[in-house]
Amino acid sequence: MKVVNFELYAPKLVDKGEYFCAGHRACQGCGEALAIRLMCKALGPDTVIVNATGCMEVVSSLYPTTAWNLPWIHVAFPNAASVGSGVEAGLKALRRKGKIPDRDVKTVAIGGDGATVDIGFQALSGAMERGHNLLYVCFDNEAYMNTGIQRSGATPFGASTTTAPAGKVSPGKQVWKKNVPEIMVAHRVPYVATASHSHPLDLITKVKKARALQGPAYIHCLSVCPTGWRIPPHACIKVARLAVETGIFPLYEVEEGKYRLTVDSAPLRPVEDYLSIQGRFRHLTPAHTAAIQHRVTQEYHTLLEKIHHLRAWAEVTEP
């Protein structure tokens, strides 16, 4: 008998463990806290988390308490990937020498868009190039939120942030979002995916897939910040869902260079639906919105081309 609306009931099958517990000091309605909570359910207890400085690190680790129910380390802002490389190497060496139990413990480095796209970019690139057995998850709330909503390389075109604000002369960020998943594909990372906390089961599946891989993997997770995006907290999931449904943040994965859409949102909703309900885009003119729509459509079609026609790296059978 086919279960109708299975996805409505599938939440009951999710790991009930809470590895990122209540009591953390994130804002009400924080999408990033939710995304981390969901990621941890997919990872399970045999995980070491390496956390860059940022919202999640700050709200979860006020000495003498911690919200983490997993081994966790924070060192500094730009080095989640390099500390993660060291953790991975340490665990590998100790396991080989029999100094720790002989079972798989996964190293997962996490950071916000600041820590990943900007200040930690070098460390991320180095770690992925070296091929550590490391999963890196970027929680992208599209600005340096913890320090007060400053512009990052992941801030979208037109968004108003405190260092690229919408003023009389300048309408917010004038350049486009850096596409880190594509850069990871160019590093030939065997598994690259985008995810969103609006699609929790998709996120959980992707994290599980990445975790199972014995090698580098990268997940870029959209994380709505009601405080920074100027939306009411209760709209957190709705806005993330709209990012997917408008094609602004498509959910896809790239496995061994082969692109696949994991959530097909066609026909796409107009970007206006997404932009008009966020305070950070309040100042946009119809011309701005049109420019954004044009670019989003173009990028979405480029993605579809890759899905249908391209392998990022070809399969060669003859020498």
Binding site: L70, S85, A89, L94, G126
Partner: protein, 391 residues
């Protein structure tokens, strides 16, 4: 049984580190310490050492990877110089505050600008206040010995602090000397496996690197200071044990021909050897001069220093870094502060010598001592020595 071999001191440093069985090495090349990670990677590639050698993409990543690996309970080692150390700078105080026993070999080199690859102490002096234990080697034997001692000191349960072993760039790193190398069994007897206080592992869940509110931060700094200060008796105990195992004595302040000395030279690092030759020449001429060679820079061995300097009328303190616009060079300031509270107030002449690899000769040291001998009034501040244009 120790074997006597001649090799480049940087290679010897790598061999000494390898004898300590590090599990993770993360290092980035920078002149003049490059031969240390290079030789270590040779040792690993030949299977002589079972370790993970991470070719990190920057020094910041090198120290960060060492943090991560040390936190899992692995024994770690890294090496750098100058700009590399400065690039690690953000992580330096974090390693000590997080009580991770990372051992670093530092091939001392001048800090830019202008860019200069040769030897002085401006790199380590920029990291003076980071809470690391700092040892200074004067020759190849001391490099080998101090690197092995460093692991034992760092990992001691009453210490749990990172240690840097300073060896002068080129003047030590690239010099070939005959040295006694302990064998693996001897080192294993001296240095047992690392048993960490806490590790990153799901079997015992900890959070490391938490946020310290103002309500506890001052206490956290006091705890860190207490740890650094409290490491001194452990360092001395480790040195006594070293002497029992290997017959070579180490102390925080090495006093050379200081009996009845009127003037004492104070040095750190390889120029101490040149200074010793100068003292010998001076003593031949019946000049009552001696040398205090500082082996331990942090924690500063205040009691041992003031005791060793007892009776001297003038201390000629040699610095190899400038504290621009300050009252004295780093070592000069430390020495002045040392004597301020006590009854003895020797005159303190503070010279800054050999910056950026400039040669300092026996004759230079003799002249400095003679000038110190002629000093009867406490001079102001410090002087960069041998600068053309300075009278």
């Amino acid at each position: 049984m120790s074997t006597r071999e001649g090799m480049e001191i940087a290679f010897a440093a790598a061999e000494a580190a390898a004898l300590c069985r590090p599990e993770v090495i993360a290092a980035y090349p920078i002149t003049p310490n490059t031969h240390i990670p290079e030789h270590l990677s040779d040792i690993v590639a030949d299977g002589r050492l079972d370790a993970e050698f991470i070719c990190v993409e920057s020094e910041h990543s090198a120290l960060s990877a060492c943090c991560g690996a040390s936190a899992t309970g692995a024994r770690v080692f890294t090496a750098t110089s100058s700009q590399g150390l400065l690039f690690m700078g953000e992580v330096m105080p974090i390693v000590s505050a997080m009580r991770l026993p990372v051992v670093m070999a530092l091939g001392n080199r001048a800090v830019s600008a202008p860019i200069n690859i040769w030897n002085d102490h401006s790199d380590i002096m920029s990291q003076r206040d980071t809470g690391w234990i700092s040892l200074f080697a004067a020759n190849g034997q001391e490099v080998i010995d101090m690197i092995i001692q460093a692991f034992k000191i760092a990992e001691h349960p009453h210490v749990m602090l990172p240690v840097n072993v300073n060896l002068d760039g080129f003047q030590l790193t690239h010099v070939v000397e005959p040295m006694l190398f302990p064998d693996q069994d001897e080192v294993d007897r001296f240095l047992p496996p690392y048993t960490p206080f806490a590790t990153l592992h799901p079997d015992k869940v900890v959070s490391m690197g938490t946020l310290g509110m103002p309500d506890i931060f001052n206490e956290a700094m006091q705890a860190k200071d207490a740890a650094v200060i409290g490491s001194l008796p452990v360092i001395e105990a480790v040195w006594q044990e070293w002497e029992r195992h290997f017959g070579r004595a180490y102390e925080p302040v090495y006093a050379y021909r200081t009996e009845d000395a009127e003037v004492l030279l104070v040095t750190m690092g390889s120029l101490s050897e040149t200074a010793e030759a100068a003292i010998d020449a001076l003593r031949d001429r019946r000049v009552p001069a001696g040398l205090l060679k500082l082996r331990l820079w942090r924690p500063f061995p205040r009691e041992a220093f003031t005791a060793a300097a007892k009776g001297a009328r003038v201390l000629a303190v040699m610095d190899r870094a400038v504290s621009f616009g300050g009252v004295a060079g780093p070592v000069g300031a430390e020495v002045r502060a040392c004597f301020y509270p006590g009854p003895a107030h020797p005159l303190i002449v503070n010279k800054i010598i050999g910056l950026g690899g400039r040669d300092v000769t026996v004759e230079n040291f003799i002249a400095i001592v003679e000038e110190a001998r002629a000093t009867t009034v406490q001079p102001e501040g410090y002087q960069l020595y041998g600068v053309r244009g300075l009278s």
